[in-house]
Structures are given as C-alpha cells and as structure tokens.
C-alpha cells in the first residue's frame, strides 16, 4: 500500500480516537499541530493503529517517531 493511502487511513483513526472530524494529517505533522494529541492520547492512537492494521509496534519504534511521516514509514515497512 502506498504511504499516501496509509496516511489517509491513519488520519481516519486520528479523527475517531480524538473525536475530531476536522483533523488533517501531513507527513510533517507532530503532536504540536494536532489538538488533543498528547502523551495520553498518543498510546490510544498507537493501539488503534495496531488494531486496524493488525500489526504490533515495538516500544522502541513508538518512542522513535518524530512526526506522522515516520510513523507511516514504520507502518508501511511492517505491512510490506
């Protein structure tokens, strides 16, 4: 799957978990750009993504991403 398509699905998950239909994600988006994305909702987002794609991130991976793009890259690698 293309990263763009993945980004779109990740965006859906963000909208659902954060209860905000207006969220628009870019590869460069960080927690500072998205309202409601904090350390607590972060893990909820991760778990929701894991469930949706039926994959599991390692703790190290979760701590390593600097923006949404890196998250999606990591996801794409797992799905490849």
């Amino acid at each position: 799957m293309q990263n763009e398509a993945l980004l779109e699905q990740v965006q859906e998950i963000f909208r659902d978990v954060l209860d905000d239909e207006e969220i628009v994600l870019q590869e460069t988006s960080t927690a500072e750009d998205v309202e409601g994305w904090d350390s607590l909702t972060h893990i909820q987002l991760i778990v929701a993504i894991e469930k949706h794609f039926k994959i599991k991130f390692t703790s190290k991976e979760i701590l390593s991403w600097k923006n949404v793009g890196e998250l999606v890259d990591c996801l794409a690698a797992k799905l490849a």
Binding site: D16, V17, D19, S39, L40, H42, I43, Q44, I46, V47, A48, K56, F57, T58, S59, I62, L63
Partner: protein, 580 residues
C-alpha cells in the same frame, strides 16, 4: 463490553440528573485512563462519579498523611490500585532475606488503610506474574514472588472479612479469565507507565462499578430461565422427559448438568429462580419430576410459568408476583428471537446474549459477573425461602378464581399461645414496629410485655400463621383487659401486614369470643385510636360485626358474646393452651 473509546465518549457526556458518588482513585502507576474508564462506566450505569485522582504513585503519602487531599475529599469510595508489576519491582530490589515478608508488609499497609479511611475502600488484588525464577518449584519457596502474591491475595480476603469497609476487586480472577497478555501491553507500559492495556480497562472499570452499584443497592435478585435448549438439550414437548439431554451420559448433557449446578448455587446464595418457557405446563414440569439426571427441582423455583403466551407478558406477570424491579432481573434464553422480544418490551431487564454452543454458556456467564453482591449471610437462604413462599402463594392464588377456594387450599394453621419466654421478644418487636394494622398503637417494651403476660387482670394471645408454602412465624398479638366480671376490653390488637387477606382477623376474633364465652364474659369492647398510619383498620370492628357505642361512635365498639356466631375462616388452630 464497551470499548475504551466508547467509555471515553461517555465520560465526556453531561451527567444531567444522574445521582452522584464521590470516588477517589489512587495508584502506584499511571491511572488517568483508568479514571476515564471508571467515569464512563459510571455514566453507562446512570451514576455520575465525582472523581478525585491522586497524583502518580502517591498511595502511601495520601493515606498516611491525615492532612492530604484524600482526607479533604471525603470519598464515598476509595479505589486503590497497587499493581503486581510494581510489587514485583519492589520484590526484586529487596534483599533476599526480606522477600519472604513482602506480603505481610503490604497487608499491614492495607490494615492501616482500613483503619484510616472513612467510606468504602475498593482494593484491587494482585494478578499473578510468574517471574520464572524458580519454575513450579516456586510453590515450595516462601521467598518466591508467586508465593508472596498468593499469600497476599489470601490475606486480603481475610482482611476484607475483618473490615466491613474493605471490598476486594478481584483483578486476579479477571486476569485469569482474560489472560495476562490481554491485560498487560508492554508498549503501553513503556510509553505511559500504565499497567493495564486499553482493552483491559473497560473490564476493570466494569468490575469496579459492579461493586460500587452493589453497595449502593443496585444488584440482581432474580434469574428467569427458559427450558428447552437452555436448561437441557432438546425439546421436551417433542423428545419426552426421558430423552432430553442432561447428565453425564453421552453427548452434550454434561454441559447442561453443570449449567444447572451453577444455577443451584445461585439459588443457595439467595437468587430467586423462575421459569419462563413456551411449553405445555405439564410437559415442562415432567423432567423436574421424573428425570433423575436433573440437578434443579421444582422446589428450587419461586415462579414457574410455562404456556404459549408472549414471554414479555409472562415476565411482567413474574414481576408482579415477586414485586421487584426489572433492573434486578436476568433472563436467559437460547433463542435470539425470544431474547429480542423481551429486550424490546422490557428495556431494564438484563438479557445476556448467550453463545450458540451450550458448552460455552458457563464461561460466558462467568465473565459477565452478573451477580455481584455487597453482603452475604447464611440468612439470605432463609429470606429467599420466605420470598419463594410468598411468590408461590400469589401464583397459586392466580389459579383460583374463587378466593375461598384459594384460602382453603393454603392449609393454614395458627398456633395460639399466651406470652412466654420464647415469644416475648417478638411480641415486643411487633408492638414497637406495627403501625398500620394496629388498633390503639400502644407500645410495650419487653419488660412490659412480660409483666402483662403474668398479670391476672390481662389475658394475652400470640398467634402464628403457617401454610403449605411456609411459616410466617408470630404475626398477631392481642391483649385483653378484664375490666369487670362481664367485660373484656381489647387493649391491643395488632397484626403483621404480611398476612392480610387470609382471614386471620376472623380467626382471631373467633378465638377471642371462644375465650370470652368459656370464661363467662358477656361483652368484648374494642377501641380504635386513629394515627397517621392506621387508617386501614378504621372500620375493623364494624367489619367484624361489633356495634358502635353510641357515646363514642367511630371509636368504641362492642360485641355481644352470646349473640356472636363464629366467622368464616379457613385456619385451623394448632392447640397449645393460651392460659398462663
């Protein structure tokens, strides 16, 4: 089970008119999401939790410092989550010599907790983490972690028996059911310090609120059961009582036997059992009467409804008989169609979505924790028996169109006695408590009752009432004052409202008149003193054939003993001398 996401949305909702409860949450790990889950689960049950969340890892400080925010908050419920994970860390850091006293040390702290906190404490017990250091040999080693955890959990049970304000939330059992890998998510822990997975949170919140609701008086009292393919395999109307699947023969029978064993345990705990089945009644009863493999018997059920009517209507009938709320009832039926009809018509009743395979019924129901309770005593069993007796009486009355025939069928027996060492406490209790069926509402203490019983100027009567459904015990008291050679004055006539409409009043008067006649009295005088609560007996003496005394109409009434002929009644006297 609701997802955490759903609970989160519920937690944000305005609580409107919901009743409130104050809850404090203290943990040795991150508890913010648990707090959200608890709030959401509260909302789902119509309870608005005013939640105080202590800061991270402040259990000891909050409890041991009497000036802490915890004491300022004054919670109705204090939830304490000290985790196995942190306990293991503590254990690992301790020197080998002190590991064997870990459980004792923690129990000491819980004891302090129980002594210090007002309100109820809900303490999460410790799910097991096998650290693999000793293998199964850990069972022989007091200083192994598992040894300490199990000792701790047992110690918590003992403490909760000792301290009525301590309630254990059985996280250990929950993890045994859900699995450790489901309950703990290492990446969630590493990135948030949270020890419960997002998927486990709703279960933990639900088990916590089960306890809160039970303490607040909301719990299940009654289990209504379908028969065919629910209590046994097969259809009794087609297969016959001897061919239904139950018992430890071949096939699926043992699943139903074990299911019945579980239901029997619930009954023994005080849950009222009822049947609601689409069947001919005689066919439906046959397995209980004739099939030796059946664990449940007819006398386990308070109400047995088997007919071809709509099940929602039948459950309404059951509700009327038992006089309890729909929200305290559980309905189990294998048929999704019947379940939906009941759910749609009676929204408050709990209708679990039974799995298709009867072999799965029990594990599924175990997981729902439907029968949480906040109290248990061996007397619960007896109370149920009384409930059942009343239910059987009412349901039996329905079968009679003629009230007299019904009363006759009850086979009522009353024991009539004077006051004696055995019944004086109960007489005094009735005298203190009876408000409605009480003609003069004169209250007597135990000592006064004893004195009246021994006084030759008074004649005292205590009546019991039993019937084929059960014994109501002592339910009626009369004290006669011998005013002069010809006159008896009814100083006291009171009766428990449990036995209204059984003809007990007639029986009582027949007994009094019999005594008067045998002892040469000509008149019995009764007095009605109105109170705010005894309106139901304003016409009591008129109904029984007394004549108003002209000087005091509505208040004093007189009965001519010689002209009296015994009133209709269907109560037999169990003979015991009523003289002193």
């Amino acid at each position: 089970m609701r997802s955490f996401q759903e609970l989160k949305r519920l937690a944000k909702r305005a609580c409107g008119e919901y009743p409130q409860a104050r809850m404090a949450l203290l943990g040795d790990s991150a508890t913010q999401l648990l707090a959200t889950a608890l709030k959401g689960e509260g909302m789902a049950r119509g309870l608005a939790l005013d939640l105080f969340e202590a800061e991270y890892n402040q259990v000891e400080r909050q409890v041991l410092d009497p000036t802490s925010e915890l004491y300022g908050f004054d919670a109705d419920f204090t939830v304490i989550y000290q985790s196995s994970h942190k306990l293991l860390e503590k254990f690992s850091l301790a020197d080998a010599g002190t590991r064997a006293s870990l459980a004792e040390e923690r129990l000491d702290f819980v004891r302090t907790l129980c002594r210090s906190l007002k309100g109820r404490i809900i303490y999460y017990n410790y799910p097991e983490i096998g650290d693999g250091v000793f293998g199964s040999y850990q069972n022989k080693v007091e200083s192994s972690f598992i040894y300490q955890v199990r000792k701790l959990n047992l110690g918590l049970m003992d403490l909760s028996r000792e301290y009525p304000n301590l309630f254990i939330c059985d996280l250990s059992e929950l993890q045994a059911k859900l699995g450790r890998d489901f309950c703990f998510d290492s990446s969630v822990y590493v990135s948030t310090e949270m020890l419960l997975s997002l998927d486990a949170l709703p279960y933990v919140a639900s088990r916590t609120l089960d306890i809160v609701c039970a303490i607040r008086g909301s719990f299940k009292k009654c289990l209504i059961l379908d028969l065919d393919n629910t209590l046994w395999g097969g259809v009794v109307g087609d297969d016959g009582w001897e061919n239904i699947q139950v018992g430890h023969g071949l096939g699926i029978g043992k699943a139903f036997s074990e299911f019945q064993q579980w239901i029997k345990k619930l009954k023994e705990r005080g849950i009222i059992l009822c049947i609601c089945s689409k069947n001919d009644e005689d066919k439906a009863r046959e397995p209980f009467e004739k099939n030796p493999e059946m664990v449940l018997r007819l006398d386990d059920f308070a109400v047995f409804v088997a007919n071809w009517d709509n099940k929602a209507d039948n459950i309404r009938t059951i509700k009327e008989i038992l006089n309890i709320g729909y929200d305290s009832m559980v309905f189990l039926d294998d048929n999704p169609f019947e379940r939906n009809i009941v759910r749609e018509n009676i929204p408050d009743i709990c209708v679990p979505e039974l799995p298709e395979d009867p072999g799965d019924y029990l594990e599924y129901l175990y997981g729902l924790n439907l029968f949480e309770t906040a109290s248990y005593s061996s007397a619960d069993k007896d109370r149920t028996a009384q409930y059942q007796a009343e239910a059987r009486r009412v349901s039996s009355a329905r079968a009679f169109t003629d009230e007299k025939a019904f009363l006759k069928s009850l086979g009522m027996v009353s024991e009539v006695s004077g006051f004696n060492g055995f019944n004086i406490p109960r007489v005094a209790q009735l005298s203190q408590r009876s408000n409605q069926f009480n003609l003069r509402t004169v209250r007597y203490t135990e000592d006064q009752v004893r004195a009246l019983g021994a006084d030759s100027r008074h004649q005292c009567f205590a009546f019991t009432l039993a019937d084929r459904f059960g014994d109501n015990g002592l339910i009626c008291v009369v004290i006669l004052e011998k005013q002069d050679a010809g006159t008896l004055f009814i100083d006291t006539w009171l009766m428990s409202c449990r036995v209204l409409k059984r003809g007990m009043e007639n029986f009582t008067l027949n007994t009094l008149a019999g005594f008067a006649r045998e002892n040469g009295f000509k008149r019995i005088v009764g007095e009605y003193i109105p109170t705010a609560k005894n309106g139901m007996v304003a016409d009591h003496y008129l109904r029984l054939g007394f004549t108003p005394v002209p000087d005091a109409p509505g208040r004093l009434f007189v009965l001519d003993v010689d002209a009296f002929s015994p009133l209709d009644c269907y109560i037999e006297t169990k003979q015991t001398p009523y003289a002193e």
